[in-house]
């Protein structure tokens, strides 16, 4: 259980482009109040869809937020990522010169990349054939542009990694960013994720029978599925001594992370492998089950995920399961950004002293067993010291990040 050697890594900046608001303070206020970011879909024509709500970001004004990128040249997911990163850097109070002169980069997770762009191109193709494809839109398609957008916007000259491990991708990105700073390969790293609401993800989850009609109710006896959602989230990871020397506000320390793959079923999660992933994260972070005060669940609200997740947690924690809640009850499933928003919520929970709620929970599913505290309704005042942030994905890609309070 030795802690990995290397430098200590802390989170000093937070950025959110979310359905609960723009900026980490607005996002956090929404989370603490148990507010819903779900609304009627505007991003695509929902004619013919039985389910018509999602967690969309309606008040994102990239032109106001971004200083370098021309919003006309970038897809929605790239703009989410760059906007969140710009907010994180401003929040951290890092000088622009320090970003571009130092060894700084980004790692950004996504599920569907520039899905909204691809959807517009597909419509052009169907309506008018290949010759109707707008070349300017074609240029916006490649998923690698999402991290590149962050680097361009901030002038970062280090890594620009887009990580496509779907719904656990932000945790993968944070793990990558953590390793870069820990090993000294980078001094500053943006880790986070971005995804856009789109018609085919909505249709796909509906067809899988995994889409709730109006309300996402993780861990509830009446849960029926996810709500599709979008957003961008960014955490600025910085070497500990550097942060202290410049008098930075430190939200949390990244203790470590764990990743693995079920290598089994395309969509059904495997509790044994998730339990192994939790143990791997604990080993990497140098902590044990008794050290964990809060779990920010993957908690999608599908019958299968939530039952599997609790089963896996029980396998590791036994009868003492820490409070475990799902912010997807408020913002829906932001896909590649989901575990990034979870990490941001963990940082704020550790820094401000609260437990994020499962806002929509009415009655915990008795089949989940005894002793499952999902923090129903609104945030609860508490002083968690160590938080465990879950991200699981189709394909069986599991990733878990462990964060610690600083003071």
């Amino acid at each position: 259980m030795a802690e990995p050697t290397g430098r200590r890594v802390v989170v000093t900046g937070l950025g959110a482009v979310s359905s609960l608001g723009i900026g980490a303070p607005a996002f956090t206020a929404g989370i603490r109040a148990g507010r819903s970011g779900v609304s009627r879909i505007r991003g695509f024509d929902t004619t013919g869809f039985p389910h018509t709500v999602a967690g969309e970001v309606h008040d994102f004004a990239p032109r106001r937020l971004l200083r370098r990128l021309d919003p006309d040249e970038w897809g929605r997911s790239s703009l989410f990522a760059a906007g969140a990163a710009r907010l994180a850097v401003a929040d951290a109070g890092v000088r622009p010169a320090e970003l571009s002169a130092g060894n700084a980069g980004s790692a950004i997770g996504t599920t569907s990349g520039e899905s909204a762009v691809i959807e517009r191109l597909t419509a052009q193709w169907v309506e008018g054939g290949f010759k109707e494809l707008d070349p300017a839109l074609v240029r916006q398609v490649p998923a690698n542009r999402i991290a590149a957008a962050v680097n361009r916007e901030l002038g970062l000259t280090g890594d620009a990694q887009t990580i496509a491990t779907a719904c656990s991708a932000s945790n993968y990105a944070l793990g990558y960013a953590y390793d870069m700073v820990r090993t000294g390969e980078a001094d500053l790293m943006i880790g986070g994720g971005a995804d856009s609401v789109n018609r085919w993800a909505h249709a796909g989850f509906y067809r899988l029978g995994a889409l709730a009609e109006q309300v996402c109710r993780p861990f509830d006896v009446d849960r029926t599925g996810i709500l599709t959602a979008e957003g961008g989230v960014a955490l600025l990871l910085e070497e500990h001594d550097h942060a202290i020397a410049r008098g930075a506000r430190v939200y949390a320390e990244v203790l470590g992370y764990g990743v693995n793959c079920d290598a089994l079923h395309p969509v059904a999660p495997d509790p044994g492998r998730i339990a192994e992933c939790i143990r791997a994260a604990h080993r990497n972070a140098g902590v044990g089950p008794d050290d964990i005060d809060y779990i920010c669940a993957h908690g999608t609200g599908t019958p299968t995920n939530d039952a599997t997740e609790i089963q896996a947690v029980r396998e590791v924690f036994g009868d003492r399961i820490p409070p475990i809640s799902s912010i997807k009850s408020m913002i829906g499933h932001t896909m590649g950004a989901a575990s990034g928003f979870g990490a941001l919520a963990c940082c704020m929970a550790l820094y401000e002293g609260f437990l994020p709620p499962t806002a929509t929970l009415a009655e915990v599913d008795p089949r989940l067993g005894d002793g499952v505290d999902c923090v129903p309704g609104r945030a609860r005042a508490a002083r968690p010291r160590i938080a465990q942030n879950h991200g699981f994905a189709f394909g069986g890609n599991n990733a878990i990040v462990i964060l610690r309070r600083m003071s």
Partner: protein, 90 residues
Amino acid sequence: MSQATITAQHRRQLRDLVADVLELEPGDLTETSSFVDEHGADSLQAIEILARLERDLGVLIPQEDASEMTTLAGVYAVVARHAGWATAHG
């Protein structure tokens, strides 16, 4: 109340549709042969059958009824119920 039975034409249409999704010859399917055990169907093909039925027949079939459609006879029963057709026995 209409007492129309599920016609031979409907049966043929449903058999062809299922055979198409499962990539079989229509003759390979019997009314009681199991899509999963005998024809190697997976859960995504089950969803595809459901989606095709809804699109081709213009009916809405609840997701939970998909678990009933494990044989051609099951498909006849579910479709008859939701398309307003009576079954041969009804």
